[in-house]
C-alpha cells in the first residue's frame, strides 16, 4: 500500500499538467486539419509541412530581419494562410471531383515537394529562434511558458473557430457545405469561394501552430515528421472533421503519452497511445465523440 501511495507525488502531478500542456499543443495542430477535412472532405497529409514553412517564416522574420516576435507572428500566419489557399487552388481544386485517394496522394506529393524545397532553399541546418522564455515555477513543479502559450492559443483558437462557424454567414455556409456539397451550389452559394476561405483559415491555423512551435522546437526541413503522423491520428481518433472530438482526443492522447512515459519507458507511452487508438478504431470507428450507429 505504501509503495502504491508513493507514486502519488508531486512528479505525478507535474506529469499530468505536462500532459495537459502537450495536449494543448496537439489540439492546436489538429484544429486546422479537422477544419479542412470537415468542410472540403480532403486530408492534407502535408499539414505538418505547412507548419514547417511557417516556422521557417518566423525564423527568418525574427532572426534575419530583426522583426519582433509579436509583429512577425501575424505575417507568418498570413504567409501560411496564403499557402493554404494556394494548395487548394493549385492541387486540391482540380482533383475535387476525382476519387478521394487522388487527393490524398496529391497532398502526399506536396509533402515531399515542401520537404525538398525547404532542404534546397534553407539547407539542412537546425535553426533556432533563440528566444528563451522564463520558466513558471509552482510548488516544486516547473512548467514551460511556451507550452502554456500553446495551450492558451489552442483554447482561444478553438473558441474563435467555433464562433466563426456558428455566428457568421461564412461559417454557416461552411457548415452547410460540409453537410451537403452538391445542394449548396444549387442554392446559390459560391462553393469555390467557401473552399478557398476554408483552406486559408486552415492554413492560418497551421501558421498559428508554427508561431508557437518555433518557441519550443528547432526548425529543419523534416520537423514535420515529428508531428504529422500524431496529428493525423488525433484527428481520426476525434472523428475527422469533429472539432470537439479532435480537441478531446488530443488531451487523451497526450495524457496517455505523458503518464505512460512516467510509469514505464517513454516509448511505452507512445505504444500505449497507439494501442488505445487501435482499440478505439474498433470500438468507436467514427471517433471518440461520434454517436453509436
Amino acid at each position: 500500500m505504501e509503495s502504491f501511495l508513493e507514486i502519488f507525488d508531486i512528479y505525478l502531478l507535474e506529469a499530468v499538467v505536462n500532459g495537459i500542456l502537450l495536449g494543448g499543443l496537439l489540439a492546436l495542430l489538429a484544429l486546422g486539419l479537422n477544419l479542412i477535412f470537415g468542410v472540403i472532405d480532403v486530408t492534407w497529409i502535408c499539414y505538418a509541412e505547412l507548419v514547417m514553412i511557417g516556422m521557417y517564416g518566423m525564423y527568418f522574420l525574427v532572426q534575419y530581419y530583426g522583426i519582433s516576435y509579436f509583429l512577425a507572428a501575424p505575417v507568418a500566419i498570413a504567409l501560411v494562410a496564403i499557402l493554404g489557399a494556394l494548395l487548394h487552388f493549385l492541387v486540391i481544386a482540380p482533383l475535387l471531383s476525382g476519387p478521394p485517394i487522388n487527393q490524398l496522394l496529391a497532398t502526399g506529393g506536396v509533402l515531399f515537394v515542401l520537404q525538398s524545397f525547404a532542404t534546397v532553399a534553407f539547407g539542412i541546418d537546425f535553426r533556432n529562434l533563440g528566444i528563451r522564455l522564463p520558466v513558471l515555477a509552482f510548488a516544486e513543479m516547473h512548467f514551460s511558458y511556451a507550452r502554456l502559450l500553446a495551450f492558451g492559443a489552442a483554447l482561444i483558437g478553438m473558441v474563435v473557430v467555433y464562433l466563426f462557424m456558428t455566428r457568421t454567414y461564412t461559417g454557416t455556409a461552411i457548415r452547410a457545405i460540409a453537410q451537403d456539397r452538391q445542394i449548396m451550389a444549387l442554392m446559390g452559394v459560391d462553393t469555390k469561394k467557401i473552399y478557398l476561405i476554408t483552406s486559408a483559415v486552415g492554413g492560418a491555423l497551421a501558421g498559428l501552430a508554427a508561431c508557437l512551435l518555433v518557441l519550443q522546437y528547432d526548425v529543419h526541413p523534416f520537423v514535420g515528421l515529428s508531428f504529422g503522423p500524431i496529428t493525423f491520428l488525433i484527428c481520426v481518433l476525434g472523428g475527422l472533421g469533429n472539432f470537439v472530438g479532435g480537441f478531446v482526443a488530443a488531451f487523451v492522447f497526450a495524457e496517455i503519452i505523458s503518464l505512460g512515459g512516467l510509469f514505464s519507458d517513454l516509448e511505452w507511452g507512445y505504444v500505449l497511445a497507439f494501442v488505445f487508438f487501435i482499440i478505439m478504431m474498433f470500438v468507436r470507428p467514427g471517433g471518440l465523440l461520434a454517436r453509436r450507429q
Binding site: D9, Y11, E14, A15, N18, L21, L22, T119, I124, D125, F126, R127, N128, G130, R132, V135, A137, H142, F143, S144, Y145, A146, R147, Q216, Y217, D218, H220, P221, F222, V223, L225, S226, F227, I230, A254, I257, S258, L259, G260, G261, L262, D265, L266, E267, G269, Y270
Partner: protein
C-alpha cells in the same frame, strides 16, 4: 634480306612497340579506384554531423584525386543516405552494382551501418567505415570485408564512466557507490551500444544507476523523461543522442527545472558545438563530450611528423567551405583522418604487396595495418581484429577522449595523458542546471 624487307620489318617493329606502349599507357590510364562514398546530406542526420563528416572525407578524397595513389586514379562517387537505413542500403547496392565501385567508404549512422555492412559483405565488397560506432556493426558477425578505425560505442560508454569514477571523490565529493547516475540514450543502434558501455562502466565503478532509458530521436515530447529524471535526482547524466533531440531534451530539462552536477555527452549531436550553442545558448558551457579527439586539438609533438601539415591543410580547406565557425567540429577531422588512413596506408599496401585493388587485396592490406599510437591524425594507433576474433574488422587501438566546452572553446580533459586542462566539475554554482 633486301633493304625493302628490312625497312618493312623495322617499320613493323616500331609500330608494334608503339602499339604496345600505347596499350600500356592506356592501361595505366585506366588504373582507377572507384570509391562509393555514402553520408547523409539530407534529413535530420545531415545537420546532426553527417554533412560535416562528408566535408572531411571529401577534402581528403579531392586531395588524392589530384595526385592518385601508386599509379591509380581515385574517383569518388557520392551518394546521399537521406538519414534513412533503407536508402543507405539501396544506395550502397546501387553504387556496387550499377556504378561498379570497387569499395564503399563513409557511413555516419549506426542504424545504417548494421544492415549495410551485412549487405556489402554478401556482395564481397570492401567497406571502410569512417564514422558509425555501434559495436553491433561488427560484434560476433565475423565480417571479412568491413573495417572500422573508429573506436566502438561501448568504448565511448566505458570511457565516460571511468572519467567520472576517477573524479567522483575528488571533484564531486562522493564515493562511487553513493554517486547517482542516469543513462539516457536515443534508441537506435548507436545509443543502445553506448548505453551498454555506460552500464558496464557504471557496474564496474559501483555507481548507483538511478535511471536508464531510451527514447526515439524523433519523439515530439520528452517532458515525461525529464520528470522521471527529476524524480531520480541523478548527480551525473550520461546522454547519447543526435540532434535535435538533444536540444529538445535539454530545453525541456531547463523549463522543468532539472538539476545535476554534470552532463556527459557521447559524440553525434554533442560533437556539433555550433548547433548546441544555437539551441541552448550559454547553457552548453561546461558540458562534456566524448569523441575521437578533434584533429585540431591533438598534441602535434606526439604525432607522426607527416601529419601536422595534413591537419593544417584539412583545417584550411574546411574554413573555405564553412567560414567563421567558432569550434571546428571533431566530425570533420574524424572522416578526414580515417579516409587519409585508408589512402596512405591500406591502399598503397594493397597495390604494392597484394597486386591490386580488389576486395581481397584491400582486406589483406587492412589486416596488415600496424600503426602505433600517434600514427593517425586522431592520435590513436591502428590494428584491426582479424577473422575469428569477437570484433573482426574493429581497430583495437582506437580510443575516444573527453572534451569539455568552456566559454566557446573545447578542451581535452581526459585521459590525463592528452588533457589540456583540468575538468570543471561539478557545474559551477549559478549555471542553469547546477544543483548547488
Amino acid at each position: 634480306m633486301s633493304m625493302g624487307r628490312i625497312a618493312r620489318f623495322m617499320g613493323g617493329m616500331v609500330a608494334a612497340v608503339a602499339a604496345l606502349g600505347l596499350a600500356a599507357s592506356a592501361s595505366a590510364q585506366e588504373k582507377k579506384l572507384k570509391i562509393g562514398v555514402v553520408y547523409d546530406l539530407t534529413g535530420p542526420l545531415a545537420g546532426g554531423g553527417s554533412e560535416l563528416q562528408y566535408i572531411g572525407a571529401k577534402i581528403v578524397l579531392d586531395q588524392f584525386t589530384k595526385t592518385g595513389v601508386e599509379g591509380y586514379k581515385i574517383e569518388a562517387i557520392y551518394a546521399d543516405a537521406q538519414s534513412k537505413p533503407d536508402v543507405a542500403i539501396n544506395e550502397a547496392v546501387r553504387l556496387v552494382e550499377q556504378e561498379k565501385v570497387d569499395m564503399l567508404l563513409g557511413f555516419y549512422s549506426s542504424a545504417q551501418c548494421v544492415p549495410v555492412a551485412a549487405r556489402v559483405e554478401q556482395l564481397k565488397k570492401f567497406m571502410w567505415i569512417t564514422t558509425c560506432i555501434s559495436s553491433a556493426v561488427l560484434e560476433g558477425r565475423n565480417l571479412k570485408y568491413v573495417f572500422r578505425a573508429q573506436p566502438s560505442g561501448s568504448q565511448f560508454g566505458l570511457m565516460t564512466m571511468d572519467f567520472i569514477n576517477q573524479n567522483a571523490k575528488a571533484k564531486l565529493g562522493k564515493e562511487p557507490k553513493d554517486l547517482r547516475v542516469a543513462i539516457i540514450h536515443e534508441d537506435g543502434a548507436y545509443g543502445v551500444d553506448v548505453s551498454k558501455g555506460n552500464e558496464a562502466g557504471a557496474k564496474k565503478a559501483g555507481f548507483n544507476v538511478v535511471l536508464k532509458e531510451g527514447y526515439s530521436a524523433t519523439a515530439p515530447d520528452l517532458s515525461a523523461l525529464v520528470t522521471k529524471l527529476k524524480r531520480a535526482r541523478p548527480d551525473v547524466v550520461f546522454h547519447t543522442g543526435y540532434n535535435p533531440d538533444i536540444t529538445l531534451l535539454l530545453r525541456q530539462a531547463r523549463e522543468q527545472g532539472l538539476k545535476f552536477q554534470a552532463l556527459v555527452g557521447h559524440g553525434a549531436g554533442y560533437g556539433v558545438y555550433e548547433k548546441l550553442k544555437e539551441g541552448l545558448g550559454k547553457d552548453v558551457n561546461y558540458f562534456f563530450n566524448t569523441d575521437p579527439i578533434s584533429i585540431w586539438l591533438t598534441n602535434e609533438k606526439t604525432l607522426d611528423p607527416k601529419l601536422p601539415p595534413e591537419i593544417k591543410f584539412v583545417g584550411e580547406e574546411f574554413d573555405k567551405v564553412k567560414p567563421g565557425v567558432a569550434i571546428r567540429s571533431a566530425h570533420v577531422g574524424m572522416a578526414a583522418s580515417n579516409t587519409y588512413l585508408f589512402l596512405t596506408d591500406v591502399l598503397p599496401r594493397a597495390i604494392k604487396k597484394y597486386g591490386g585493388i580488389d576486395s581481397e587485396a584491400l582486406r589483406k592490406a587492412a589486416l596488415d595495418t600496424d600503426i602505433p599510437e600517434g600514427g593517425t591524425m586522431l592520435g590513436f594507433g591502428v590494428k584491426f581484429e582479424g577473422e575469428g576474433q569477437p570484433m573482426a574488422g574493429q581497430n583495437d587501438r582506437g580510443f575516444p577522449v573527453i572534451i569539455q566546452y568552456v566559454d566557446d572553446k573545447s578542451y581535452v580533459v581526459w585521459p590525463k595523458s592528452q588533457a589540456m586542462r583540468e575538468a570543471v566539475l561539478p557545474l559551477p554554482a549559478g549555471t542553469t542546471y547546477s544543483n548547488k
